[in-house]
Symmetry: C2
Subunit: 347 residues, 2 copies
């Protein structure tokens, strides 16, 4: 038929999932023997943050993930496209339980005419972010498209980790009663980017939260039983919670007033008409945690850089399976999945 790709297909919400579900999953999963051969792996059909491939006798596994980054502007308050690319891939590995990356790949698609100095600055930023995360970058690719054929710099990073198979954590493991924990303030990346792009002049510091979270995730996993994890990137907290509820077949109840949002981001969100719960975070994690371990996990995260505002925002429940219900203080409403098409190229 005459359907075409729209910006919504890149927004991480319903439209993208439909595209992937309809077009990609049925075609790729029948060749996806490796991941799901014996039920131990996590394959494409799980639509998780990455895939888990058992190797050898199955006690070990390889975790793999990938993301392309097209953010504009390439340098923004709090980070740049290089930091985003490295942190994004480190974080998708981390939320699969793989907190020690074996290596990352680095593939550039560059527009003819891009200043070499910009490429250099981006490479330097990738190096620094990789160091921060304890990650290596060991292979890559460089392609150039003509002037006007691509806007600036596109970076793909794939990530690979080698883990004990038991360490893998999916985004589908929530159980009724589990505490739902967010590692810090919501909405920083998306709202800072949009404010920057709109040229708005807000007081306070609006900046992206982009950062590797693998150390924070390791601390959480060492402190107690983490039952599910996800990094709330495109589609934000709303998308992450809805996916976690849907995949686990549980409901999630959250208290709006308990969800950390910085004052500056909240104000900017209001002016811009953007919900901080519906836009990308790039240095945050949503955890499901065994209720008995919740306090210990909270304390461990609070001691990590970037984890100072960790909060229990709600819990999983047998009620309203697949739905996320927010207590606003005035009543209860569903937190629905964002469409998100208003925010292209923030990641």
């Amino acid at each position: 038929d005459g359907d075409v790709v729209t910006l919504a297909h890149g927004a991480g919400g319903e439209a993208m999932r439909t595209l992937v579900d309809d077009l990609v999953v049925p075609r790729f999963t029948d060749a996806d023997r490796t991941a799901e051969a014996d039920g131990a792996g996590v394959g494409l059909a799980a639509l998780d943050d990455g895939a888990v491939h058992p190797i050898g006798d199955g006690s070990q596994a390889i975790v793999v993930t990938t993301d392309s980054h097209v953010v504009t502007p390439r340098f923004f308050p709090g980070g740049d496209i290089g930091r985003l690319a490295v942190a994004g891939t480190v974080n998708d590995l981390a939320v699969m339980g793989a907190t020690e990356p074996l290596t990352l790949t680095c593939s550039f698609v560059l527009e003819e005419g891009t200043p070499i100095a910009d490429v250099e600055r981006v490479v330097e930023s990738m190096r620094e972010t990789a160091r921060e995360a304890g990650a290596a970058i060991s292979t890559g690719d460089t392609k150039v498209m003509g002037n006007g054929e691509v806007d600036g710099i596109v970076i793909n990073t794939a990530g690979v980790a080698h883990v004990e198979a038991d360490d893998a954590v999916t985004d589908a493991g929530l159980r009724p009663g589990d505490a739902v924990v967010v590692s810090g303030t919501m909405g920083d990346h998306g709202i800072a980017l949009l404010a920057e792009r709109e040229g708005f002049d807000f007081t306070g510091d609006l900046k992206s939260d982009v950062a590797p979270v693998n150390d924070l995730v390791r601390a959480a996993m060492d402190a107690g039983e983490v039952t599910a994890m996800k990094d709330p990137t495109r589609g934000g907290l709303a998308n992450a919670l809805n996916e976690m509820a849907d995949k686990a077949g549980v409901g999630i109840d959250v208290v709006e007033g308990d969800i950390p949002v910085s004052g500056a981001i909240a104000s900017a969100g209001e002016v811009l008409g953007i919900d901080p719960f519906a836009v990308a975070n790039e240095g945050k994690v949503v955890f499901g945690v065994d209720p008995d371990d919740a306090e210990a996990v909270l304390e461990a995260i609070r001691d990590c850089p970037g984890g100072e505002e960790v909060t229990i925002v709600g819990h999983a429940t047998e009620d309203h399976p697949g739905r996320v219900v927010v207590d606003t203080g005035f009543g209860r409403r569903y937190m629905s999945e964002p469409e998100g098409e208003t925010l292209p190229r923030i990641c």
Copy 2:
């Protein structure tokens, strides 16, 4: 300074290598502990087709590679961007000695307005090519850029394999006396693409050779001692041989008349002013082979689809280290590294 990215930086030759050598390698290698910790791995500094990471006790290793694809048109004689993306990554793993991919990743950057039917056709082609190669695709990403912000479809595929560490083969292993073998005709992909793009109407079938070569590589490795391998993609045979000579510190002597080139490609190359030895192949391999095993390896390759025209084109020598000398029948000349900037977006 005021330098900018040029099309030559994407052509796989000197300009790209300088960019990677100057900007990337010094920054990324100091964090690249994993690959080269004990000298057993192949890290970024080797600038090989992929990286090799020893795991566990070092008897096993993980091979990783990545390529982005920006070819235009997206459907071309003999293949399409999806087949290119899957075969390209399978082949970079294969020439590292990793002929059984554990999994591939699939990341799309799509232009708003691209027909969904085109995306579907590309996904279908990726599925078919993956099956042909016995490869799984288990994770991916989808980003959308606005109309005019990227031209059509960009695909990144990364590939991961799990091998016995001993099986890894680099592009640096040539020894004086080794036979230099090419698995089939040279120049097909690059010249078919350019002819198609120029709208030329040649007789004969000009089509891309794009195909996975992992089975052919496996057959070769099982038949005898393969000392070095490379897939002659951007920069073609000339680039591959020069790199192999340079890295091994040996010379290479080849006989021009022995290098297989199809009649149609040779004619088209003449009309277009393109050297079949200087443009991309996407389903071919250049091997260094122990001279005692050369006949056995040749026979094994000849039995594989795509290997029918396998030929010994020359040998490595102690003379003229780092240089490739061609016997043209009328005399001898250096086969120099192509600049290649005349052929953007053929991969």
